[in-house]
Subunit: 217 residues, 2 copies
Amino acid sequence: MKKKISLRVIRRISFYYEALLKLDLPKDEYISSKNLEEITGVSCNQVRQDFFYLGISIGKQKKGYQIKKLFSELKRILSVDKGAKVIVIGAGRLGRALSEYKLFKVRNIHVAALFDIKPELVGKVLEVKGEKIPIYHLDRLEAFLKGHKDIRIAMLAVPENAAQEVLDMLIKLGIKGIVNFAPRILKLPKSARNIQLVNDCIGDSLYKIVYQIYHKS
Amino acid sequence: MKKKISLRVIRRISFYYEALLKLDLPKDEYISSKNLEEITGVSCNQVRQDFFYLGISIGKQKKGYQIKKLFSELKRILSVDKGAKVIVIGAGRLGRALSEYKLFKVRNIHVAALFDIKPELVGKVLEVKGEKIPIYHLDRLEAFLKGHKDIRIAMLAVPENAAQEVLDMLIKLGIKGIVNFAPRILKLPKSARNIQLVNDCIGDSLYKIVYQIYHKS
DNA sequence: TAGATTGTTAATCGATTAACAATC
DNA sequence: TAGATTGTTAATCGATTAACAATC
């Protein structure tokens, strides 16, 4: 059985990975959990706990973790080598912002295409760091997926009222993982076994700040 | 002392609020925690626990919560009446997507202006549902804030390498709450007492999906 | 050796879920 | 009345922090 992983662990693993990426690799051969705390802000106890949880046990007492080895462990866990291909439904500002999001590149995640229904968007080609990402009409989604069996993940950036409908469509077409960015909690139909859905509420952190600044009590 | 609130509670409060917003208000005078569970997906126990935590005790046994009353309680907690004004630093795709984000409107949060340094962006005016949002040069931020003492919150959507620098600048200019969308964990300088900072990692939910889809073990 | 750092277990903390007396 | 629903407390669950033996 696959081990369940929480969003928080994944987030921290990302931090470690990105921290190592930015390191001048050959500088220090080893890095300790304490070093990682300094760079990422995650406590050294948490770092070791995470490694333990994920079965990373390559540390050497007194030295720490061999950077090269640790890096490849993290890459493996984050599936960086898999070169995940995803599609984005909705080519509005949010959809386009997601498509050019730098950190996806760092993680070797590629946006293969965007889909929309607006005539003024369909047919355009997005250029992201030299790569071209086409915007197709949603009608072509089924055919597109038939030709790209390796695409199993979609990001949803459509208007709220279209979100549930598009979700159902995606499931029918065989998509296995969906991140919903529409401002609405989507639910999987009961029939949808082993489909992964995460609702990403972009505004939340602003709401928290607003609460803290404006709410006296 | 102000009660600490977690992001999760705020998120759920938002769900309740938005659920009530969509209700045809006069339809049913009362709504129960069980009803709210059906609409929002949050368990009725959690709903009552949240209300208890926030001091909302307006329920009537056998009936539920008077919708009108509940609505105004939620509005109060979410500071909807305050009409929070915020600025956005960085007028790239992400910054512009945030500026036109629908749910901010629903919560009566207004983006007053964007700031950038790119000549091709500075001077432009964003149009969001009839409202005009100007893009100014970052040089004008100080003067702008002097003329708008009511603006205490900023969203950061600048490139990663500029983020920390801009954060320090914002603090110096008197901003009290910051949401950082740059793909990097920012830290508050030690001197920054009672400044609120939330790092919002937009990619995380995709990473979780990628893990679940690609990671066999 | 003495000091540092790991892997792992135990303690703490916080958040969710369950339970239930009160009562409309 | 009987059934439903609240407010609140208690139990459970999960995540973080602390502690420490092992050892390089």
